[in-house]
């Protein structure tokens, strides 16, 4: 019974949103749902954040491996919460936006989160290199095509691409690697992109229908 209600909710809301597109008076429905979602998400955080605390506190109390680091996490978490909620060290006081210039909260962001996230992101440079060394090998035809396309584009992004093929007469300028690179981006790449996009579109449509009709219900629990 409880689950039937849930399925009905999905069915009703889903259909409603689909229909709303064709009915001008219901245009604003999307915005409303977006607002609702944001609000729900914050409530949900009490579960997520709560779980974060629980996990690390147990780790701490049970003196599990690496429990020391749990202290760091816990401290960091609570400190930010306190600073942010009471807007400590915020020039504008409680009225100002939490991310106001010069606020302690913002400083924390600039000096701790910015370096951390951008460095984590920067690691990609290394992984891209190791991946291209390890994975870009002409194992089979697909792999070879992937490899060649990537190689041409890469070359096209360097001055050497131009230098290597500068002897090519302008009548055949398409064969100059940088142009070749751009051409690949605009033709074959475009075709692939479109095929993938249309496919995705159909995938989403069909999955949404399954969900709305309650055929796909794994996320709601499958008690038998």
């Amino acid at each position: 019974m409880k689950r039937q209600v849930a399925l009905l909710i999905t069915l009703f809301i889903g259909t409603l949103l689909v229909v709303s597109v064709f009915i001008p008076p219901m245009e604003s429905l999307k915005e409303t749902f977006t607002l609702f979602f944001d609000i729900i998400a914050v409530f949900a955080f009490f579960l997520g954040g709560g779980n974060l605390l629980r996990v690390h506190l147990t780790k701490l109390s049970k003196r599990k491996q690496d429990w020391v680091y749990s202290i760091v996490t816990l401290v960091g978490f609570t400190v930010v919460l306190v600073i942010g909620l009471f807007k400590l060290g915020n020039p504008g006081g409680i009225a100002a936006s939490p991310t106001a210039e010069g606020s302690l909260f913002q400083t924390l962001f600039d000096n701790v989160l910015v370096p951390l996230s951008s460095t984590m992101y920067a690691l990609l440079a290394f992984f891209v290199a190791s991946a291209s060394y390890r994975a870009f090998r002409a194992k089979n035809r697909e792999a070879t095509i992937l490899l060649i396309a990537a190689f041409i584009i890469l070359l096209g992004r360097t001055p050497f691409g131009m230098m290597l093929t500068s002897w090519v007469p302008n009548s055949l300028s398409i064969l100059q690697i940088p142009n070749l690179a751009i051409w690949i981006m605009n033709s074959a790449n475009l075709a692939g992109q479109r095929a993938i996009m249309i496919g995705i579109g159909l995938g989403v449509v069909s999955m949404s229908i399954r969900i709305i009709l309650g055929i796909e219900r794994t996320y709601l629990g499958e008690e038998k």
Binding site: I23, G48, S117, S206
Partner: protein
């Protein structure tokens, strides 16, 4: 050549000066009609713009009116006309009020400040207020709200056809019709991958992307998690689902729990299987990376919405020698999965996965249905390309007709 002149900074300055002047002039004389009326010889008053046509904007909530007028003969780019000033009044009500203004050379305006079911009249004046060289009054117009957006009827029709085909085949399958579905390598490998983890006595890592429940890919990932954790429950292997959104954590727990119940082992389920890390993209990645190198999972599922982290996770997973099954609908990230993972679900396959894994006829039916959708799209593409090309080659009525039809059919207005 004119263009050259136009670019001259001197000219620019002059032009800006002129605009400022005209606007000032306009407003001054607006404030003091006495002067405005007496010697208009000093102030050049351009000829009024031509007739104003007001039409209701269709398929809206009745909050907008389309205006169109003929430019003033003096509006020849010589800046005698600084701009057009749209004035409006309610019929039988107050006199004309300035609503808004547009630059010279503009001949249309959408008034979004009207109220439904009130009747309005418009006129367009130049240079600053409603009294300088106003046009004739427009037709009176009553913006109203439509109940159906016929502008989207093509979307509706095609949508009906494709969604219809999906539903039809689901229903068809319900009546016990079996459909052939080709093997999808990535999904064939799921059982084996889980089995491997069981043998090695190592955990399984399932990453449902980094977006919240408001993204379909996350939902798709969770539906797959349902199938996976069902198998995991049977094998009695350890599964970790670190997530970067609280809502996803909740949903993931719900999903795993029910799978364990379905497998008849509710006792084996624990909330620790799905844990929230942090909303911050790279904070989450840092943590998951750490998890990988410390717990050394034998199998990694990377399914859902991924951004830059795709390769970080995939390469780290690879460095610990895990079997990796990845999938996303983000074209930008697919290459990295293809390069660094053992199996990759490309776009549509991600959404088809749970249906495929479920093995239920109904779900299989939906796959058949979306294939029909694909077929339709392909037919339209082929037909469209051919007819449009032919229509261009020889202007034969039927081709032009078909190609135009197809074109209108697929143009999405809003």
């Amino acid at each position: 050549m004119d263009d050259q002149l136009y670019r001259q900074p001197v000219f620019r300055v002059f032009q800006i000066f002129l605009i400022i002047f005209t606007v000032l002039a306009g407003s001054i004389f607006a404030q003091d009609p006495a002067i405005g009326l007496t010697d208009s010889a000093d102030v050049f008053v351009p000829a009024p713009p031509g007739a104003v046509k007001a039409t209701d904007v269709v398929y809206d909530q009745g909050g907008a009116v389309d205006l169109e007028w003929e430019l003033s003969p003096d509006d020849d780019g010589s800046l005698k006309v600084s701009g057009y000033y749209i004035c409006r009044r309610e019929v039988g009500g107050e006199d004309y009020r300035l609503v808004d203004s547009v630059m010279a050379g503009v001949r249309t305006f959408v008034d979004e400040t009207v109220e439904q079911d009130h009747t309005y009249q418009y006129m367009v004046a130049v240079n600053g207020d409603c009294s300088t060289a106003p046009s004739e009054e427009s037709n009176s117009i009553t913006p109203d709200m439509e109940w159906l957006n016929f502008g989207l009827s093509n979307l509706f029709i095609i949508g009906l056809v494709i969604c219809g085909s999906v539903i039809y085949f689901i229903a068809h399958a319900k009546r016990g019709k079996k459909f052939f579905i080709r093997k999808i390598a990535g999904l064939e490998a799921v059982d084996e991958a889980i089995g491997r983890a069981t043998e090695m006595g190592r955990p399984i890592l399932f990453v449902p992307g980094i977006l919240d429940m408001d993204d379909v890919q996350t939902i798709a990932a969770l539906t797959i998690l349902g199938r996976v954790s069902r198998v995991v429950a049977d094998y009695d292997t350890k599964i970790n689902v670190p997530v970067s959104r609280s809502l996803v954590m909740t949903a993931a727990r719900e999903t795993i729990k029910s799978s364990y119940m379905a497998a008849g082992r509710p006792d084996a389920y624990s909330d620790d299987m799905a844990a929230y890390i942090t909303d911050e993209q790279f904070g989450y990645v840092a943590a998951v990376d750490g998890m990988m190198v410390r717990e050394k999972p034998a199998t990694c599922f990377l399914l859902g919405a991924f951004f830059a982290e795709s390769l970080i996770l995939a390469e780290t997973g690879n460095s610990i020698g895990a079997i990796q099954i990845a999938g996303t609908a983000r074209p930008a990230q697919l290459p990295f999965f293809v390069a660094a993972c053992d199996f990759t679900l490309i776009g549509e396959e991600l959404f088809a996965a749970s249906a495929y894994l479920s093995g239920e006829p109904k779900q299989m039916g939906s796959l058949k249905g979306q294939d029909v959708g694909k077929a339709i799209a392909m037919v339209f593409i082929v037909l469209g390309v051919i007819t449009t090309t032919l229509a261009q080659a020889w202007d034969i009525g039927v081709f032009t007709w078909i190609s135009d039809l197809l074109h209108d059919l697929f143009q999405v207005t809003s």
